[in-house]
Symmetry: C2
Subunit: 298 residues, 2 copies
């Protein structure tokens, strides 16, 4: 535990991740825009820093977990941000979901200062962040990965170094691509089942025990059956943001993603129709309107 | 075991299903176009009938498992077929994957003769047919379901009566809709991962342990990584046939299935490009050609 760790961004994911590092015995310095969460974890033993620059000064490894590309670029690449204040040998790790271009710009900025950068997006939600069982997908240099791996293992259960800079970000976007297309599939499948006159709850049980099974169907079909579109899981507009990053990635890589294009279009339309704050399962609502029929538990 | 059972169609699924009925002690009469399989199961104790009409004469409950809509309609609805030869109280069960219109025509023909009809498509492949652990999705009258349920339980592990006539067929097509869209998602996700520079096998491991997971991704991603498109699982052209039935169903029900439409288009194009005899995972090949890049295990 010789490495001093810094954590920037104590949100829904960052706060439980920080607690796990603290419990594992790390010397932890934290920074967050809102001070309430800083005080909370400082009471538990973390050192509160008043700026990103202060975190950079105190720590060997600095992790960031930020809500969107804009915040991420401001905190990591801005004049007072992490990377322009990096020093040789220091490692900066980004757990945010961003595009490959952001990850590559961060890696370039780190290299300029003799520091190292890892893109390390996470998956699994607040529950798995709390349990320290996240999926962590890491891209970047071997040397940096080897040094941060013990900390990753404290926060995650499935931790993989998938390739060079940008690979972690790519893996996360590929995950979101699957999630997006599976959400569309779950919505139209449940609607077709219900409108056919079959019991949609029984059809769900059958197909989810068979070849039609997916993690997303298991989460979203019950929400559709119970008309539960307000529970905060992943909002339509947050999800659309990820689908936009996937569009950018596929364009840059000149790779066709017909399912991803479809999901992007449907989620865009859902936001235009005012469904942006609802859970992603609400992607079924415009389809139901078109069919003139609602899925319901019998 | 007072009910005498008939089985028409001793194919890849029908033969192991028949063996399970025989082993459970049923008085079983079988009929099949090719005589080799008839002799095989007759040696094990089944009674060989020389025509569908003879099966109808000998049995109380007659099950059919046929490869396509044309064969199914000929055997069940044709002049010498099962339903025009049905008698009051007799039950005819169709395990084939057909469209709702075929199931409804069968039910009407049964009713005309005072008989009963169940549409009862199956899922799970030859392995689960052999183990007697199929998923069986049943539509039709309660009285008929109650009488056939003991036989279903011999052949299947997940057996559900999902609603009136056509509901079993609907459930099966909903399953195939999910499978089709998930195949498209798996293909484009694996291609995007590989072309990004990440290790596609590691990305597969990560996303399939996370929210991107699906049964189909678990089956198809390894085939793509190992370039195994010739193994006989489900051929592209067989799958396209199901996607065509789903198109018909969605049109009849006036229900949008944007993902299903996309899968139908991509599988049609794949057949046009000569990939019809390959396994469904080959849906990735036209995408790879467009991207100028092949997925490979590193």
């Amino acid at each position: 535990m010789s490495e001093k760790i810094g954590f920037i961004g104590l949100g829904r994911m960052g706060l439980p991740m920080s607690y796990n590092l603290l419990r594992a015995g790390y010397d932890l310095t934290v920074h967050n825009r809102s001070q309430e969460k800083v005080r909370q974890i400082a009471d538990a033993g973390a050192i509160a820093a008043s700026s990103t620059a202060e975190v950079m000064e105190r720590c060997d490894i600095v992790l960031a977990c930020l809500p969107d590309v804009e915040t991420c670029e401001a905190v990591l690449l801005g004049d007072d941000g992490a990377l322009p204040n990096a020093r040789p040998g220091q490692i900066i790790v980004d757990h945010s979901t961003v595009g490959a271009s952001t990850s590559k710009a961060c890696a370039a900025a780190a290299e300029e200062r003799g520091a190292m950068f890892l893109d390390a997006p996470i998956s699994g939600g607040t529950e798995r962040a709390t349990d320290g069982t996240l999926t962590i997908m890491v891209g970047g240099p071997d040397e940096a990965y080897a040094r941060v791996q013990p900390a990753f293992d404290v926060m995650g259960a499935v931790v993989r170094h998938v390739g060079p800079t940008g690979s972690g970000t790519a893996a996360k976007l590929v995950n979101q691509l699957l999630v997006g297309v599976h959400k569309v599939a779950a919505a139209e499948a449940m609607l077709l089942a219900a409108k056919s006159g079959a019991d949609p709850a029984l059809v769900f049980e059958l197909v989810n025990s068979g070849w039609g099974q997916s993690f997303i169907l298991g989460r979203n079909a019950p929400a559709m059956l119970d008309r539960d579109f307000e529970g905060i899981r992943t909002q339509v507009r947050v999800f659309l943001k990820d689908l936009g990053l996937i569009q950018e990635m596929a364009r840059d890589l000149e790779t066709p993603i017909p399912g991803g294009d479809l999901a992007y279009r449907l989620f865009s339309e859902a936001v235009e129709q005012g469904l942006g704050d609802m859970d992603g399962a609400a992607i079924v609502l415009p389809m139901e309107e078109e069919a003139g029929f609602q899925i319901r538990r019998k």
